[in-house]
Amino acid sequence: MNRARENSWLILIGIVGVIFLIGAPQVLELFTIINLTTAIAMALLALSLGLVWGFGGILCFGQSTFFGIGAYAYVVAAINFGGTSWAVVVAIVVAAAFAALLGYFMFYGRVSDVYLGVITLTVSLIFYNLMRRTSGPEYKIGDALLGGFNGINAPPLNVPGDASWFLFPEDVFYVAMAALIIGYFGCVWLVRSHFGRVAVAIRENELRAELIGYDVRLQKLLLFAVGGGIAGAAGVLFANGVGRVTPDVFNLYNAALIIIWVIVGGRGTLIGPVLGAFGLFYLIGSLGQQTSINNNLVLGVILVVFVLLVPKGIVPTVIDLWDRKRGHRGQFRRHGRRQRRRGSRTAETSHEG
């Protein structure tokens, strides 16, 4: 996709986003708006993995870890500070810092891709089991009881500087949607910057990136931390949308769900994961109202169908189809050849020496 066409799409996305931001509370019911806030939190979470996996090539199976840490850190900090403004900052910083710490061991330890997935997932499950066991008065951070299985009630956001002026659910929606728009365009800016282009280069060929002088470990660590920070921000929105944070944010179901959003929406794009998250969130929501088919079964079928039939995800596939229809055949051929070349390249590597 060339830069000019990409820019016109970005403008369109921006306009749709802003219209949605302003218009949704005018036409939708309050219940729907509250639900939307949660969906937006999920979309921001999907965006964070779309950045880390789709552009950095880091398959993090436990993006929910940073999401959950962000949510817990927000609630604990808000209860202790008696206000939420700094709690938001704390949540993002703690999530990013934890991602950086975990990333340090993985990237500087040169952990390979598969094990990276296993480690991140395991860390998320460790948090799940850890937080479930924190019921009882002895488990508290400052004034905040961790509450074990039941979790903690999340104080709603307040206007910065005035801790007694709470935001209504509608106002929280504005904040969430604005955060998503800012997050999205922030990510667009990032992947177009020198830093983002190097991240893509590392995804394409780590050795080459190193040989032209980039510290691959540091670059990956920074990208991973940025992804963790965005996931942390998503956690803050989630805590506000649901009004409660429980250990379930760390569970296997959520960890897998994020991956599915990104696969369905499309790796290598930023809007794909956002749309994937929205789409599946509402699909699961509407399935939840009936009892004839099991939710997870449907989700599983969707995943299998996408992996087998639409492996690139919705957005990249639509772009390809569009190009084909318009006669830009080059783009389509390119992908076919790329896979073949990849295969022959691995064969070449073996008789090196």
Partner: protein, 240 residues
């Protein structure tokens, strides 16, 4: 004799388990020199090369680049000294365009504006201006080699290490590559690992022959080519 020594190895050895791939190699490269490393398969050239570029950490001995011991340095740190490295199998960013590949290398050491002009300059030098927007994975093997050479020279290195730059190229492509390498040599010292004797004749100044992990002989191409031991090593051991 030419300028000061820029690359030096002292007793460099690389063992893989019980196999000694490089055995106590003492090697010097002087400023603005163009040195070819040759030798039969398994002679240890590529292993020696990987020790120089930080891809392998030597078992014993030292690698010194401009008075700096780089034994334990990572590849990106060696590249950071101003060393351009091309590997044996073309290592390029497959899914990115030709100009993006070269820009990434140029931008590492230069501010944005300078990097842009370096990309233009480099594309001209490696003759890829016409296909600058093409994806690298669509190109022929020879063109991919040039993309990699372009990445090496766009960073304006003072020392260039090339592992089989002419491998898999057509005759015309080899000629252009030889020309390019002589041009690089005007501003940088070079070490070229190569198999192709014809190609070496085109560029060689001084040649180092590797055999069984050690240096067999080090001299001009004519002397080396006339040496009976070298002939024997290359053509196989003849019964006497």
């Amino acid at each position: 004799m030419k300028g000061e020594i820029v690359v030096e190895t002292r007793g460099l050895s690389m063992h893989f388990g019980g196999v000694v791939a490089v055995d106590q190699v003492d090697f010097n490269l002087r400023e603005n020199e163009l040195r070819c490393l040759i030798g039969p398969n398994g002679a240890g050239k590529s292993t020696f090369f990987k020790c120089l570029t930080g891809q392998l950490k030597p078992t014993f001995g030292d690698v010194v680049i401009r008075d700096l011991n780089v034994n334990r340095a990572h590849s990106h740190e060696i590249a950071g000294l101003g060393v351009g490295i091309k590997t044996q199998v073309p290592n390029v960013f497959e899914g990115l365009s030709v100009q993006e590949n070269i820009w990434l290398a140029a931008r590492r050491f230069h501010p944005a504006a300078r990097a842009r002009s370096l990309v233009e300059e480099t594309l001209e030098r490696v003759r890829l201006t016409d296909i600058r927007r093409d994806m690298v994975n669509e190109l022929s093997h020879g063109q991919r080699q040039w993309v990699e050479l372009g990445m090496v020279i766009s960073a304006e290195p003072w020392l260039v290490l090339l592992d089989e730059p002419a491998a898999g190229m057509t005759h015309d492509e080899v000629l252009l590559t030889a020309e390019l390498i002589r041009e690089i040599n005007k501003t940088a010292s070079l070490i070229v690992v190569e198999h192709d004797m014809q190609f070496i004749r085109m560029i060689a100044d001084k040649v180092t022959v590797f055999h069984r992990g050690a240096i067999l002989i080090e001299d001009t191409m004519d002397v080396v080519a006339a040496d009976p031991t070298v002939r024997e090593v290359y053509l196989g051991h003849r019964k006497k």
